[in-house]
């Protein structure tokens, strides 16, 4: 039976599901838009991936599961994770495997972006932007809509530009009005798109790399790293080649799959994975305000087939402490 490890990265816009084999190679990787509830997307991803790999390999056994991303906790209780890891460590782990002597990792996703500084194969510093859209993929999506050029074509357009216009990119609102202005002045779509790409990169570096030393090798990953226009803009900004590794869009999920596998190998534990049957179970989430004290915590509850399997968000543990034992039991 083929032994696999599963990695799931739940972000706010996309969910990534990855299966890796005994050599840590990705045999199936899905990049899905998180539509509706993340739970539905996770299950959809698992069902799709399961169909594909069983067709290819027959019966498989999942020996380790890891989750990451902003929804890592939720994903972790739904599937039964062996490792729940923050996305910075997960992304860095995969990047270092691909480019062992990487020094700087640019990661640009749909809703957030990060920069990770690596020295001698270890993370030494990082910065994250979760609040400002200027410097993330959604900024590009939004502008694509405005200009009427599909986002997939953005890279191509940017490369065709001969003299990118300079667009004030400090903030999406300004960028937009500046862009409209340039359009009215008669700039071509190519030049505007190239200008946008440059402004996105400038913005990203201003926000995240402030005063930090940018050393090669540079690795660029995350959904936006598909865009050749942005790759080029990065190369121009840092004056050096920028490597887009394989599996560039699913690095977080890949990284956490490998980490979960290490965890199981080292500890010799059994996996917590609840099996593919979870895709058939009924999951609900509920948010309520605890009235136990003046904190009025926003408490999240995850219910599986009518039974609560997790709580979080309570500052004092009033809710989550009730459950630790149950979560363990419902592992199998």
């Amino acid at each position: 039976m083929k032994e696999l490890a599963l990695g799931i990265d739940v972000g706010s816009v996309t969910t990534k599901v990855v299966f890796i084999d005994e050599n840590d190679e990705v045999i199936e990787g899905l990049y899905l838009r998180t539509t509706g509830s993340p739970i539905i997307t996770i299950k959809k991803g698992m069902t799709q991936a399961y169909a594909y790999i069983t067709k290819k390999y027959g019966d498989v056994e999942v020996m380790a599961v890891g989750t990451t991303g902003s929804g890592r906790q939720l994903a972790g209780v739904i599937v039964g994770a062996d490792m729940v890891k923050n996305e910075i460590s997960a992304h860095a782990y995969a990047a270092i495997r691909e480019v062992p002597d990487a020094s700087t990792i640019f990661e640009m996703g749909g809703q957030d972006s990060k920069i990770i500084f690596i020295r001698n194969g270890a993370v030494v510093d990082f910065a994250m932007n979760t609040v400002c859209a200027a410097g993330t993929g959604s900024f590009l999506d939004h502008q694509a809509e405005r200009i009427g050029v599909p986002i997939e074509k953005f890279g191509e357009y940017a490369l065709k530009s001969e003299s990118p216009v300079r667009i004030a990119g400090r903030c999406t609102v300004f960028a937009e009005s500046d862009m409209i202005h340039k359009q009215q002045m008669g700039a071509t779509s190519e030049d505007i798109i190239a200008g946008l790409s440059e402004s996105l990169v400038r913005n990203y570096l201003n926000n995240l790399a402030r005063g930090k030393e940018l050393l090669p090798k540079f690795v660029f990953q995350g959904g936006v790293s598909e865009n050749i226009g942005i790759i080029k803009a990065f190369e121009q900004a840092v004056g050096h080649e920028v490597i887009v590794p394989k599996n560039n869009k699913i690095m977080g999920a890949w990284g956490v799959a490998m980490l979960a596998k290490r965890e199981i190998e080292i500890t010799g534990r059994q996996t917590n994975f609840k099996g593919f049957k979870i895709t058939e179970l009924k999951h609900d989430t509920r948010v309520f305000y605890c009235d136990g004290c003046a904190n009025n915590c926003e408490v999240y509850e995850v219910i599986e087939n009518g039974e609560t399997i997790a709580y979080w968000g309570d500052r004092c543990g009033r809710w989550s402490n009730r459950l630790t034992s149950k979560v363990r039991i419902s592992k199998k």
């Binding site: 902003s70 490792m83 890891k85 923050n86 996305e87 910075i88 460590s89 782990y93 957030d112 270890a122 993370v123 030494v124 510093d125 990082f126 994250m128 979760t130 609040v131 005063g211 980490l259 290490r262 965890e263 080292i266 500890t267 004290c293 003046a294 904190n295 009025n296 500052r315």
Partner: protein
Amino acid sequence: MKIGIPRGLYFYVYYPLWYGFFTSLGHDVILSMPTNKEILNTGVSSAVDDICISVKVYHGHVKHLLGKKDVDHVFVPRIVSEDKYKYTCPKLAAMPDLIKSAFRKNEKKLLSVVMYMNQGKKALHEAFSEVGKKIGENDDRKIKKALKAGIELQDKATMCLRKEHNFLEVVSSIQNLDSLLEKPVKKERYTVALAGFPYDVYDGYMNGDVIKRLQDTNMRVVVTDMLEPKLYKHYTKYMIKDLFWHQANVAAKGGMYYMDSKDIDGVITISSFNCGISAVYEKLLDLYSKETGKPLMHIVVDEQTGDAGLVTRIEAFLDLIRVKRGDGLVAS
């Protein structure tokens, strides 16, 4: 009489002195409850708009106490200076005025007085005589005795801090600091130092419970207020000259001292969004971190508490520290 003390700002430095003074005069000390959503919200809505969150939260604490029928006075001192030729931030020096203008109706309940700290007993005696007069205590012998009790308690609290008991422990053991002094401090494999103004470092509701979060993952936490100032005096040289603000000096030089300490794995600064003074010590620590290679992370607290990005960053920082010590990302 019942004297209310807001749990914010200089409470996190001089509470023992105040407590000792008032209780010795036979009054009861009533603290506002630890910051929670309600206090934050009332603070935000009653304070002027463009002020730091630490001051806004303080407004919330004052309001909470003003709303208590049985509290006769709310103690809002004007601390102008904490060291010769060093001053506090203009907002702190203007605190009674800000509070008065926010809560005009309750002006009479406010008990405020100008204070110069650490500048001799005479200055203190003058200040506390005035406090005494305002609450109807004119007997100078009693004032002197109460002040002595306060100073003794403050000194004992300082001893506790020097033994690496944090200020929150001091607050909860205020009636029995002797036994806190005897209590051993648990050694852990990792130690993280926090640098910042005490009111930012110790307000767990505001800063995503950093202290608790670190302690829960078996990290020992030390804070710049634990250091004997003599230890970091020489860092003035590095800064060329001392900063104008006492607490910023403590954070900057204390932070540098920790960066040079072998047993400290990393330093986290905690500051308030919109605080210009914090930006100065943060920058100094950035530069020093570059020189020493000691991991450094900034947490900037704003009204959006408990956002997922903060938790992710704290977790990633801890991973970084573990890897730096030669421990892996897994099975630790």
